[in-house]
């Protein structure tokens, strides 16, 4: 049985990859959209376009929060283009969104489905608003596998990663919810790039979906090359899906993560308490090692790039 999940996203090129990977490997109960890479109207339109070109029209899409909980909205058109999904011509969407707010969609689905997983790959506003509106919801969520934050450096600021920086208050709500969390941060996702060689592999698959994916990755990689000097666009969001389906893609360690809500230079940073020497210290509980707060997340510390691409390319072959 595959894992029941909702993908909460702000497409976004790498969000599109997360949807494609998730739709074939998870039991996707729905896609919820949120403000983020571009405004909500566009992330919602883009989610509909992705399900249209990939033939996933049965997956319900619910639109969610159009602004962060507290701070003003910010977007990243410099990465994703004005549409949020610039690059290839995409077909017009075939299916309308459902007539239900994403926050209510998440709550209702959680009530109906046991062991529901959430895969948030955008700002965490929908999940946070749902947790605050429905205090009992936390007990119904088996796990959250999120793309966001970093064990090391940031991208939006030296310290902060975009998804967390775009709504730090929401991230605080999620990280203090008590729900088991897998945090897939920039420190690992930056290591998995859509290099020219990888994009050539995608093209060789030969189906229409793979052709569109390759063109999306071309645009996205070009932008990240200009912005950050990367060899290939980082496959951030699909790694949050991969974390649930293949234990060999990512390595995790439990630690306590807190979100900086007040810092002058570190606003929106995921402060990971990494005060131990070796992974084994966590189990052994060595003497004299500072621990801080009990762990509230499994933080990704390593990634197997080849293994991810093997999985992703395999899945792409199943599309029309």
């Amino acid at each position: 049985m595959s894992i029941a999940a909702i993908i909460d996203c702000d497409p976004g090129h790498d969000d599109a990859m997360a949807i494609l990977l998730g739709a074939r490997t998870l039991d996707v109960k729905g896609i919820t959209t949120v403000h983020g890479n571009v405004p909500l109207s566009l992330t919602t339109l883009n989610a509909r376009k992705v399900v249209a070109f990939a033939g996933l029209n049965g997956v319900p899409i619910a639109a969610g929060m159009d602004r962060p909980l507290v701070r003003e909205a910010i977007h990243a058109p410099e990465v994703h283009g004005q549409s949020g999904l610039d690059g290839p011509e995409l077909p017009e969407p075939a299916v309308a969104i459902v007539d239900e707010h994403a926050v209510e969609f998440i709550k209702r689905t959680a009530a109906e489905v046991d062991d529901l997983h959430l895969v948030p790959v955008g700002p965490l506003t929908n999940v946070a608003a749902a947790l605050r509106r429905y205090p009992q919801l936390a007990e119904r969520i088996a796990q959250i596998s999120l793309m966001g934050g970093s064990l090391t450096f940031g991208n939006s600021t030296p310290a902060a990663e975009f998804n967390i920086w775009a709504d730090p208050d929401a991230a605080h709500v999620v990280f203090t919810s008590g729900i088991p969390i897998k945090m897939i941060g920039l420190n690992v996702t930056r290591q998995v790039g859509a290099t020219p060689e990888r994009r050539a592999q995608v093209r060789r698959i030969g189906n229409e979906t793979a052709r569109i994916v390759a063109e999306l990755l071309d645009f996205y990689s070009e932008r990240l090359k200009k912005l950050f000097g990367l060899k290939g666009g980082s496959m951030h969001d699909p790694l949050a899906v991969a974390a649930l389906i293949d234990s060999d893609v990512l390595r995790f360690e439990p630690m306590h993560v807190s979100i900086e809500l007040r810092g002058e230079h570190t606003y929106g940073m995921t402060l990971c308490d990494y005060r131990h020497h070796e992974p084994s210290d966590i189990e052994a509980g060595g003497n004299g090692i500072l621990r801080g707060e009990p762990a509230n997340a499994e933080v990704a510390i390593g990634v197997n790039d080849d293994r991810f691409w093997e999985l992703f390319l395999d899945v792409l072959t199943t599309y029309p």
Binding site: R67, L69, H101, E104, R132, R133, P135
Partner: protein
């Protein structure tokens, strides 16, 4: 005199001694039509707040007003209790009988959204509690803002605070929510501590117009509006060791009923969400405009009417007539 229409209102409360007085005034006064009450964590925990609200409505003979519970904790901050001010039950140990009904739902945001969107004309919201529900409402359903004629808030202070030297409890309890609400663009009445403290009754007046300790001792519980008000006042007298006390939140309801006893001015209000000592403060810019202009600061258009001065007697009389002994329909 021209026939005046009643004002449709929704209350958001964390009942609470003075919330109870505010509810009694709102449902007893002929000028208001209370269409629903939502509850939020604040003075006491959400379950107790909701129970208290249902109990107070039953004493008031308003057991048909829909009550829907909402947020059980603030957006970002930790919940804090004000049981030291309101007693463990939030009602000064009133010992009211268990309510005969339960809340109509647990999704205050969805309730307010559907009510407001369906309202033919904009309505008034009266928020007497931390602003968590209202912030979630505005952020998840921004369209409702067009349906808010005014949001009357008991909260904040431009002078002295209560929960901290500068912060008032409702704002301090959820500063992030307050920040959202005060920046929402909705017309706001800020009924702060500066006026809140100034609508007072003495012990002697409470005995005469509401209920005396000996009358209360003769009843199994405070079973009428004047008796409940009397009980709440006597609790406050003894809890604060004072011989006079304010009607608190009820004054904010009074200001919605009739604004003529209140002096207000549109002023910029900012919520301090950081700050070492000042978190939760409502920073009200009362500097003279010519000074601000001379400093070259950009003009800020405010839609927050800050209550600067109050005619205490005017609202005392309104409260006494609506919920005191001898008013229409009371026992």
């Amino acid at each position: 005199m021209a026939q005046e229409m009643t004002i449709p209102v929704y209350l958001d409360v964390d009942t609470g001694v003075d919330d109870a007085m505010a509810i009694l005034l709102a449902v007893r006064h002929p000028a208001l039509e209370v269409r629903g009450i939502t509850t939020v964590v604040g003075n006491v925990d959400l379950g107790q707040v909701t129970r208290n609200t249902l109990q107070v409505l039953e004493v008031a003979g308003a057991g048909d007003v829909p009550v829907v519970s909402g947020a059980s904790r603030p957006l970002v901050a930790q919940a804090r209790s004000a049981a030291a001010v309101h007693a463990a039950d939030g009602l000064g140990n009133a010992s009211l009988p268990p309510p005969s009904r339960e809340a109509a739902g647990d999704d205050a945001v969805a309730f307010l959204r559907s009510e407001l969107l369906a309202a033919p004309k904009p309505v008034t919201l009266i928020a007497l509690a931390p602003l968590t529900n209202i912030a979630l409402l505005f952020q998840t359903a921004p369209k409702v803002k067009e349906k808010v004629r005014e949001l009357a808030i008991m909260g904040g202070a431009f002078g002295v605070g209560n929960a901290t030297p500068v912060a008032e409890f409702n704002i301090l309890h959820d500063p992030e929510a307050a920040d959202i609400v005060f920046r929402s663009g909705v017309p706001i009445l800020m009924y702060g501590l500066d006026v809140f403290r100034r609508v007072c009754f003495t012990e002697e007046e409470v005995d005469r117009w509401f209920a005396s300790p000996s009358y209360l001792a003769s009843r199994p519980y405070p079973d009428t509006p004047p008796a409940l008000v009397g009980h709440l006042f006597h609790f406050l007298f003894s809890n604060f060791r004072r011989s006079f006390t304010s009607i608190g939140d009820a004054g904010c309801v009074g200001a919605v009923i009739d604004r003529s006893g209140l002096t207000t001015e549109l002023l910029p209000v900012y919520i301090e969400t950081g700050g070492r000592y000042c978190r939760g403060q409502t920073v009200v810019d009362r500097r003279p405009r010519d000074l601000v202009n001379r400093r070259g600061e950009e003009a800020v258009e405010s839609c927050t009417a800050v209550a600067l001065d109050i005619d205490g007697d005017f609202y005392r009389e309104m409260f006494r007539q609506a919920v005191g002994n001898g008013s229409t329909g009371t026992g």
